[in-house]
């Protein structure tokens, strides 16, 4: 293709005398030959398809029947498409504003450190990464299992640091061995006990590998006798590794369950004392009034572990994908705004400093107003790009959540090619996407004509 072009555009050897008119006509032909290949492709693959799509959007799914504006009204009736319109609106409202704001803040702050260049490079680098790779990166980071997704691993460890973890989420008591389950998930002794008694509370369902390090056999503590004024006992794993042992008895090799919370509950149902078991599972309450009590293992011992946040569930999937988008585009906003910042008149800033304005006032009253043209360019660019977002949504949203995350571009794809097979509605969605960027088109043309005068 390039080779034939070279031959065509090579002008014939220049004659010694050439008439002005002929030269001009030849000049025009040469000019057209220069521009022709690009214009041919633009005409055939961009302009013609736009016109075709507009026309096609007025026909039904198979393209045989003219339906007028039906596809356009269908767009706002079909729940999936309505969802796509709404999600695109969320994207357009949230992402460009966040990005411009974050870019502005970072552009101002990064000028204050010596490693500004390295920082800018780092934040800008994701611009070179494909949406697909970014999608896989974030699909990994957002994984709901805290053993796979780094974000939930962080959330869970912060949660556990503040709220604590329950020691034995899987433990339960066997029926008929002195403990009964309460509706709230706790266990309570069936018989009442008094100071001077020793109770043994056997639990099962704790895999040996889940026992805390340092757990000791419970039988020595179970063999002791309680002092007259104290209520004591032992919480143990009623399971002998390798078999043997008797249910409901503390057998020699059975382990205590350390760190279990134990409560003594009085006749009237109020908790009068609480403690935590030692490494052999033993506990004791001293100084209790004589009377009858029950011993309770509160539900907090058995609470299910906190699983983190369902980032890619229906509720959070769009914010989560917008988060991935921020990772990619923040560098762009920061670098562009940074370039605008570097071009600001130093005098205005200096004058304000000399007048005693503080950094915040300078930022609010001088930097931001002077930067507003750059901020507008960044914002508009982002709006245009956000409207067309496709790959990230397509990759990050897991199959079943796809319909909750869908945006115009993915919906257009699904309707036209991904099973929907309604090319009338698909074309109408494409035209809607085009209509949404028409204002940007007008701005570009105006700006260009302005610059030519």
């Amino acid at each position: 293709m390039t080779a034939t072009l070279v031959k065509e555009t090579s002008p014939p050897p220049a004659g010694a005398v050439a008439r002005a008119r002929r030269t001009r006509r030849r000049g025009r032909i040469v000019a057209v030959l220069f521009a022709f290949p690009a214009l041919l492709l633009l005409g055939a693959l961009v302009v013609y398809p736009v016109l075709f799509s507009i026309g096609r959007s007025f026909f039904d799914a198979s393209g045989t029947r003219f339906v007028g504006g039906e596809n356009y009204t269908e767009m706002f009736r079909d729940p999936a498409t309505v969802k796509a319109v709404r999600n695109t609106a969320i994207w357009v409202v949230v992402a460009p504003a966040l990005l411009t704001g974050l870019g502005l803040i970072l552009a101002v702050l990064v000028e204050k450190v010596r490693w500004a260049t390295a920082f800018k490079l780092l934040l800008f680098m994701p611009m070179a990464v494909s949406f697909l790779a970014a999608g896989i990166i974030f699909r990994l980071a957002y994984d709901e299992d805290p053993d796979k997704g780094v974000l939930n691993a962080a959330v869970v460890s912060v949660h556990d640091a503040f709220k604590g973890t329950s020691p034995y989420p899987t433990a339960r008591a066997r029926d008929g061995h002195g403990l009964k389950a309460e509706p709230d998930g706790s266990y309570r002794t069936t018989a009442t006990v008094s100071p001077g008694d020793l109770v043994t509370l056997g639990l099962v369902g704790v895999p040996p590998k889940d026992l805390p390090a340092g757990a000791e056999p419970a039988s020595p503590a179970a063999g002791r006798t309680a002092a007259p004024n104290e209520l004591s006992g032992v919480v143990y794993l009623d399971f002998t590794p390798g078999g043997g042992g008797e249910q409901g008895k503390v057998d020699p090799r059975e382990s205590g369950l350390p760190q279990t919370q134990v409560e003594a509950v009085g006749d009237d149902g109020t908790t009068v004392a609480r403690t935590t078991t030692a490494s052999d599972g033993s506990f004791r309450f001293t100084g209790l009034d004589s009377g009858s009590y029950t011993v309770k293992l509160p539900a907090s011992n058995f609470a299910q572990p906190y699983g983190g946040v369902s980032w890619l569930g229906p509720a959070l999937v769009t914010p989560a994908i917008i988060g991935a988008y921020l990772w990619i585009w923040t560098g762009f906003a920061m670098v562009l705004i940074g370039a605008g910042l570097a071009a600001l008149p130093r005098d205005a800033l200096e004058a304000a400093r000399i007048d005693g304005a503080n950094e915040w006032q300078i930022f609010r009253r001088i930097t931001v107003p002077l930067l507003s043209p750059v901020l507008t360019v960044v914002f508009v660019t982002l709006v245009i790009n956000v409207m067309k977002v496709f790959d990230l949504v397509y990759i990050i949203a897991p199959g079943p959540v796809q319909e909750d995350a869908t945006v115009l571009a993915t919906q257009m794809w699904l309707v036209s090619f991904g099973g929907g097979n309604n090319q009338g509605l698909g074309s109408a969605l494409g035209v809607l996407l085009l209509l949404l960027v028409v204002p940007a088109m007008v701005i570009n043309v105006r700006r260009f004509r302005g610059s030519q005068r």
């Binding site: 057209v32 521009a35 290949p37 693959l45 961009v46 980071a141 780094v150 691993a153 090319q423 570009n444």
Partner: protein, 279 residues
């Protein structure tokens, strides 16, 4: 006192930026470390557990990937799509850009305004009509088809960029060359192209990355024998979770080329992005 306060403020700024930097590095580090772990290790726990036992890292996943003919074929397809596209866009846009800047032909300025208007046309609107067209021409599912589509949708920005750059050249320079009897072709190759090198470099890098990273266009226009790496990986997303030992190294492989290009030509890249910020 003031100095102390400023020092403290600066410390806070530094700390804030370090945190942001860590947030930016972590997902990427996660991908890389995941790509070095076996499927069994990944099933056991997250990539951050390697800091407890780094011995479990190896390049085995990558050597498995290189033995996977689907993957290597897809990698070559990516090269075969992005390199010709870049060359074609640069050549066609340079020719047209020169014509729009310095040659006279009827309707030149109005045609150029159409090109400016085409800058923001979404790719989506072309998918269906061009698919039909390519189907008739036998280009559907082939690498030349994917290339042509990319070239067409890369051209508005490319022509816009180069035309504006060429238009900045001093008029006297061109007139002098014409007076010396240089043909337009000669002026174009000997004068305009060398002068336009910085803009052409930015354009080439930007265009290359754009096509290398594309998924949408290839998803429609390429079939299983012509699909690039992005589409090949996308087709395995459905089993996400069980195949991280394939997806993670594949994704890393697909991003290592553009990131290397980015670091090698960062100056041009930044200029290209800035020039393209209307797109």
């Amino acid at each position: 006192m003031n100095a102390v306060r400023r020092g403290l403020g600066n410390g806070l700024v530094q700390a804030f930026l370090v945190v942001i930097g860590l947030i930016w590095v972590t997902p990427l580090a996660g991908l890389f470390l995941s790509s070095l772990r076996s499927a069994e290790d990944t099933a056991e726990g997250g990539w951050w557990t390697v800091f407890a036992g780094p011995a479990q890292l190896s390049f085995d996943n990558y050597s498995a990937l290189l033995k996977n003919t689907g993957m290597t074929q897809a990698f070559w397809n990516t090269v075969l799509i992005s390199v010709p596209t870049t060359v074609l866009v640069v050549v066609l846009a340079a020719l047209a850009g020169y014509a729009f800047a310095w040659l006279d032909f009827p309707g030149r300025d109005s045609v150029f305004l159409v090109v400016v208007a085409l800058l923001v046309v979404p790719v989506q609107i072309g998918l269906l009509p061009v698919a039909k067209l390519f189907g008739q021409l036998g280009l559907f599912g082939t690498i030349p088809g994917v290339v042509l589509f990319h070239v067409a949708y890369g051209l508005p920005f490319a022509v816009f960029l180069l035309r504006n750059y060429f238009a900045e050249m001093p008029k006297e320079m061109l007139e002098a060359a014409r007076m010396d009897g240089g043909t337009e072709w000669r002026i174009f190759t000997r004068l305009v192209l060398p002068v336009g090198r910085p803009a052409i470099a930015s354009l080439a890098i930007f265009q290359f990355l754009w096509v290398w990273n594309d998924m949408l266009v290839a998803l429609l226009f390429a079939d299983s024998s012509s699909q690039p790496l992005t589409v090949q990986l996308q087709s395995q997303i459905r089993q996400f979770g069980s195949n991280i030992d394939v997806l993670a190294p594949g994704a890393f492989l697909s991003l290592v080329v553009p990131v290397a290009v980015f670091f090698a030509f960062q100056r041009h890249f930044v200029q290209g992005v800035m020039a393209g910020s209307v797109k």
